[in-house]
Symmetry: C2
Subunit: 90 residues, 2 copies
């Protein structure tokens, strides 16, 4: 199960994730972590910016971490993919 | 003119920007700022990770900032676009 205060950003429309983050803030007002990998990283930044500027204007960016994860391929090899974690706090 | 220690990441291949950052570190060993907007944000994170892990392994992420910029459209309106600034330091 996903952790309660984490929103994983993937390939759905940006506003789906914005809604997920604002919903999390309703339940757990302290902080929400937005995570994404690869090309979804740009969308994760959009989500954080839209939440912060339009929906939870009292939220601010507490921390941003970037890292590299090893993903297993179907052929049994691994590929490296960048990831981001953006922590918003109220 | 671009500032000396800034690399703007756009739509070229990732390794072009990795080379630009490592070249900057040769000239100005203290820190290099990687900037990108919109969909190039994911590539900027890849650039920072590849530099840090493979080419300048003594470099570390000093700071990451995200923000929203207003871009003028040809029709005279403005659109909002997310941006990132990743500061690597040795």
């Amino acid at each position: 199960m996903a952790e309660d205060n984490v929103v994983y950003v993937g390939t759905k429309p940006t506003m789906n994730y914005v809604l997920a983050v604002t919903t999390q803030f309703t339940n757990n007002p302290k902080e929400v972590v937005i995570k994404a990998r690869g090309r979804a990283i740009s969308r994760a930044v959009d989500v954080a910016e839209i939440v912060r500027r339009r929906f939870n204007t009292d939220a601010k960016v507490k921390d941003i971490k970037i890292s590299t994860e090893d993903l297993k391929t179907e052929e049994g090899g691994t590929i490296k993919v960048s990831s981001i974690e953006i922590t918003l706090e109220k």
